[in-house]
Symmetry: none
Subunit: 411 residues, 2 copies
C-alpha cells in the first residue's frame, strides 16, 4: 500500500516553518510496511488544495491530510474534501457535545465558530482528539482511504497512534519495511556509486540510495518483506555484496557516527587521545566529545589559533614555525607529537591549514590542510586540498582526521 | 509572480530527512516579492515526477526543481524535464570541460558517469556551479520559467544567489517583501512573546513570528509594500517599538550571529580572547572560529576534558579540584583566569559542567554548568541549570558563555 501526505497551512510556505509531522507519520507508516510516495505542502487555498487532493486520489490508495481542521475560516480542509468527494458536511451532535464539554471543563464558553469542528463529510467516521478540540476524520471512498488529522504535533501523534495504527494494521497484508545504512569515509560519492552500482542495480528489493552527508557518504538500503526476519535477510544479502566493493572505507553498518566508531576502538584498545587544532578551531574535539562517555579516552585538546599557542600548548618550536610556516607538514607533525607528549595520551592528532576565505596564497591556497596522527609507532602526515568554503574545509578536515585515526587504530 | 518548488529525492521521503533547501529558496523568493504557493516532495521516480512537473506547469509561472542532478542513475531530473517539455538532452562541451578540470585540480580523474552532468535540455541555459560539479539549468518555456538546482545546500545557495536572483529581479515588478530578524539572548521564548505580543498584534503588516533556534530567540518581521523603501519603513516602525520592550537582550537586528557580534566588539575594543572548556568539548572555540578573521582576536583555547589537563593548560591547582570537584564555581573561575594568564589574552572564559547523560549526582545534576569570564576588571562566575539532553546542554552552555562575554564587552 502506498501513501501520500498533504500538509495544509500557509505558515508552512514561509521561510521559517517546515512540515515535520510528516517525518513522524512516515516512521509509523514504514513500520506497517507502507511507503510514502509523495508529500505536498499547500497553503490555506481551497482551489489549490482541491487540485492536489484530486491528483492524490488518482494515484495513491492512502491519503493523509494534516492541518486545516481548526475553527477559523482559514481551516478549509473539511469543506474541500467534502466537495471533491461529493459527500456533504453533516453536523455530528456527539462531537459538538464533546467540544462544548471540553470548554466547560476549563471554565470557558465555546466560541460559536467552534461548531464547525463538529462537521464531518457524509459517511465518514470521526476520530476522537484527546489533546485538543478538532476531531480527526476517516473516510473510505471508492477503494481509497482518506485520513484527516489535526496539525498540532501532540494532537496528531496521539490520534494517529491510538486511532489510525490499529485500523491500518488490519488492512495491510503484513508487509514490513526494514532499512540499513552503510557509512563510508574517504571516497567521493561518484566513486562509491561507480563501485557499487553494478551490484545494487541487480536488486529492486532492497532499494538503494546514496547520500552525501557532511563529509561521509551513506548507502541506504530499504527492504520489503512479509516478516522482519525476511527483510533483514534481504538486507544482509546485499550488504554482504556491497561491503567488499567498498573495502575498509566502510566504517559502520549499524548507524554509528565516525566519532562513535573511533571511540569504540579507543575503548577496546585502551588508548587515550589528545588533539591540537588550528584551522578546525575545536571542531574535531567538539565532534569527539559529542559521544557520551568520551571522557574515558579523550584527555583533551588545544586550539592553537596563534603561533604562540602552538608553541605554548603543543611544544612546536618557534624555529620550525619560522622556517616552514604555520601551515606545513613539519608543523602538523610537531603539533601531533607535541600534544601527545604534553598530555601523555597514547595518540595525538595535529591539524593545520587554511580554511579561508582569506589567508590563501598561490603556494598555500585556501583548502590546503595538513593532518598528522602520532602514536608509539610513529607519525603519519597527509596533505589535503579540500574544495568548498570555510565551513566545508573545516568539516572535511575533521572528517579526514577521524578517518586517519580510525585506520591507525584498526591496524 | 507565484512560484512552486519540487524537491526530488527518495531520501526526502524517509523518516530521517526533510527538505530544508526550500526554506532558503522561499526566503530569497520572498525578498523579490515572489510567494511560494506549493511545495512537493517526490522520490527518484520518473513517472511520479513527470506527473508532478506537468501539474506544476499548468498552475505556476515559476517552477524550481531541486536535486536529482548528480552523476548517478538515480538522478532523473534532467531526463524527466527534457521529456515533459519535448526538448531532447544535448551535451554541452564547455560544461564537460569544466567538470573534468575540476577533477584535474584536485588530482583525480573524472569517473565516466560524471559526463551525464554535462547534458542540458535543448534551448536551455546552464548555470555554473562554483561549489560542485553539476551545473544548474534555466529554461524559458511557453511563458513559464523552470529552474533546476543541485541538491547540496552549499551548491544550491551559491548558484541561486549568483545566477538566479539577478535574472529573476529583471522580471518581477510591483510588490516587494522585506524581512527583519531581531535576535534575542538570555530570555525564554514565552517571556519574549509576553513582552512584545501587545505591540506586534496591533500590526497585520508586518507579520510577526517568534522562533526558538539553538539557544537564541528570533523575532521575524515580514512586510509587504510597493517599494523596498516603504517596506523598510514599515519594518523600522515596528522594530523601534519592539526593541525597547526587549532591552539589552537584543543582540542583533542585521542578521549577525552571536559569535559575530562578540567578534565585532573584540575588534572594536582591540581585545583578545582565550577559552578553557570542559563539558562543551571545544564547541565554544569552534563557534568563535566560524567567523572569518577570528584569528585577529582569538588566541586559542584549551579543551580540558580531564583534571590533569585543567592543571596543565589552565593552571587550575590540583588542590582546588580536589576540594570542590571539577564541576564547581571556583574551578570555572580558575579556568578562566588561568587560560587568560597563560595565553596573555585580555579576556579568558572557563566552562565546566555536566552535559550528561551520565555523571550526574543529586548534588550536581546533569545540566549544572558554571561559566566564568575573566578580564582586567575581575571575574564573573554564573551557575546554570540547563534543561535537555547532552547536545542541548552543550549548546546552551556555549550560547550563555557568548552572551556573558557580549555583556562584559559592551560595558
Amino acid at each position: 500500500m502506498d501513501a501520500e501526505i498533504i500538509a495544509v497551512g500557509s505558515e508552512l510556505l514561509t521561510p521559517h516553518r517546515n512540515d515535520t509531522n510528516s517525518l513522524f507519520l512516515t516512521d509509523r507508516l514504514n513500520s506497517l510496511g507502507i511507503e510514502v510516495r509523495l508529500k505536498t505542502i499547500v497553503g490555506d487555498d481551497a482551489e489549490r488544495l482541491a487540485a492536489v487532493f484530486r491528483a492524490a486520489l488518482e494515484r495513491s490508495k492512502l491519503i493523509i491530510l494534516m492541518g486545516g481542521l481548526g475553527p477559523t475560516e482559514d481551516d478549509i480542509n473539511r469543506q474541500v474534501v467534502a466537495d471533491v468527494l461529493g459527500r456533504p458536511l453533516q453536523e455530528v451532535p456527539e462531537v459538538l457535545e464533546r467540544i462544548a464539554a471540553r470548554y466547560a471543563r476549563t471554565g470557558r464558553r465555546m466560541p460559536p465558530n467552534n461548531a464547525r469542528q463538529a462537521l464531518v463529510p457524509e459517511g465518514a467516521e470521526w476520530l476522537p482528539n484527546k489533546k485538543g478540540t478538532a476531531p480527526g476524520i476517516w473516510i473510505e471512498h471508492e477503494g481509497k482511504t482518506i485520513i484527516m488529522l489535526p496539525g498540532p504535533p501532540a494532537e496528531l501523534e496521539a490520534m494517529f497512534d491510538e486511532q489510525c495504527i490499529p485500523r491500518l494494521r488490519n488492512r495491510v497484508s503484513g508487509e514490513v519495511i526494514r532499512t540499513r545504512v552503510i557509512k563510508v569515509a574517504g571516497l567521493p560519492e561518484s566513486e562509491v556509486d561507480h563501485r557499487i552500482a553494478p551490484i545494487y542495480k541487480q536488486y529492486t528489493n532492497p532499494v538503494t540510495t546514496i547520500l552525501s552527508t557532511g563529509g561521509a557518504i551513506e548507502v541506504h538500503l530499504r527492504a520489503h518483506a512479509s516478516t522482519p526476519e525476511k527483510a533483514e535477510a534481504l538486507l544482509n544479502e546485499l550488504t554482504d555484496k556491497i561491503e567488499p566493493a567498498l573495502g575498509d572505507h566502510v566504517f559502520s553498518t549499524r548507524g554509528e557516527s565516525l566519532e562513535e566508531v573511533v571511540g569504540m576502538y579507543l575503548v577496546m584498545k585502551q588508548k587515550t587521545l589528545a588533539t591540537a587544532e588550528s584551522c578546525t578551531g575545536g571542531l574535531l574535539s567538539e565532534r569527539i566529545t559529542r559521544v557520551p562517555g568520551s571522557s574515558e579516552y579523550f584527555r583533551g585538546g588545544a586550539v592553537c589559533y596563534s603561533n604562540e599557542l602552538k608553541t605554548l600548548f603543543a611544544g612546536v618550536s618557534p624555529k620550525l614555525l619560522e622556517m616552514y610556516g604555520a601551515v606545513s607538514r613539519p608543523v602538523a607533525q610537531a603539533m601531533a607529537e607535541g600534544i601527545r607528549k604534553r598530555t601523555g595520551a597514547s595518540v595525538g592528532i595535529g591539524i593545520t591549514g587554511i580554511a579561508g576565505p582569506g589567508g590563501g596564497t598561490e603556494e598555500k591556497p585556501v583548502g590546503m590542510v595538513f593532518i598528522a596522527v602520532a602514536d608509539e609507532h610513529g607519525t603519519e602526515v597527509r596533505e589535503f586540498r579540500f574544495p568548498g568554503d570555510r565551513d566545508r574545509v573545516r568539516l572535511l578536515s575533521s572528517q579526514f582526521a577521524l578517518e586517519m585515526l580510525r585506520r591507525r587504530l584498526r591496524n
